[in-house]
Symmetry: C2
Subunit: 189 residues, 2 copies
DNA sequence: CAAAAAAGTTGCCCTATGTCAACGTTTTTT
DNA sequence: AAAAAACGTTGACATAGGGCAACTTTTTTG
């Protein structure tokens, strides 16, 4: 149940086994369904999630009803509605599992308790932030000035998992193009 | 010379005056010209900058020669080519001052020394990261699905400073629209 | 396993926005 | 102060890609 999380933590930090056990003891398990919402736009996000199995999507719904995918996280990764988690304001974005998933989660209270008492955990958090920042930045700015074809080529190169595991519709909304355009582009390579 | 930095640090952290003096003692001052490059695309970023006066722009130049503005930082803020600063890889982006500016800067070595020895500074860094993440996210995702007019309205609402202090050309490249389009949109409010 | 729902594909048309160029204005340089 | 360069504005034109709809294929559900 906690093996994957332990493995990941061991890889990312240098904690002894006791500390490791202590950390994971704060996590609880939850099984979720395809398309199950974890956090709604109005809610304040209270948990940090770790994906044992499945996939989490972060998205928004615009006034005209279109949904925009912001981020996908797969197995062995952490995910949450970070701005809301940090500032405890309404998320203004949705968190959902797009497949039946097995997640571990830790409450915000416990999370910050660990950050404030375990330097190794604080360091892990810093790394998560640094990484998240870099990835978000690469992804977003990577697209600047790209046309539809270039975006698709970019995604194939940098996140091939996405095209394999996620519906066209969601990939399209992630790339900021329409589903039809994505379909057309893919048919021409 | 260090008053502004001290003021900002005092507001953001709860350090005693001695620690404060110690922190600022690692910073050096530099005066730069309009359009002076601080970090080139090929360089590895070695400094974290604090803006006493002026404005820093982060941008890239695409293969076809267009420049894309990623970020503007004004007085009383920190700025650097963060991914490069963190990972010590070539920046793949440029850092420049777009007006004559007065900057304070701290070397990466000293910066991480402070992060690793002063918990208050570590906390400050965490806050900078959290904030940077949230702002970048808001800005980027804020634009998703916006047309040119909506982007301009967004910028007027959220970063009015930009339109006042930065050339149309740079604002346009920040918004991901052409200078002509920006000009046309502005003329219709 | 059948029916229903969702997702993907493709054609047609249309609009927002890019490109280019000409021109006027402002800023920079010397 | 004059010359040069950069910037902003506007018109004419071209086009990528969105919206919609009809149809097919895949997935989900009972």
């Amino acid at each position: 149940m906690f093996e994957i999380l332990e493995k990941v933590l061991k890889k990312k930090t240098d904690v002894d086994d006791n500390t490791l056990k202590k950390i994971v003891s704060y996590f609880k398990i939850i099984h979720t369904k395809r398309n199950q919402i974890l956090v709604t736009s109005e809610e304040i996000c209270q948990n940090y999630y770790f994906i044992n199995k499945g996939c989490i999507r972060l998205f928004t719904i615009s006034k005209d009803g279109n949904d925009n995918s912001r981020f996908f996280a797969f197995e062995e990764n952490f995910a949450t509605a970070l701005p809301s988690f940090i500032d405890q304001k309404p998320a203004e974005e949705y968190l959902q599992t797009i497949q039946d998933s097995e997640l571990l989660y830790i409450s915000r209270t416990d999370f910050y308790h660990l950050v404030n008492t375990l330097p190794q955990f604080a360091k892990l958090y810093t790394e998560i932030l640094e990484n998240g920042f870099i990835i978000a930045q690469k992804r977003i700015y990577g697209f600047q000035g790209f046309d539809a074809k270039e975006k698709v080529e970019w995604i194939i190169k940098h996140q091939p998992k996405l095209l394999l595991n996620v519906s066209n519709k969601m990939v399209a909304s992630y790339l900021g193009i329409s589903a039809s355009t994505l379909s057309r582009v893919k048919s021409k390579l």
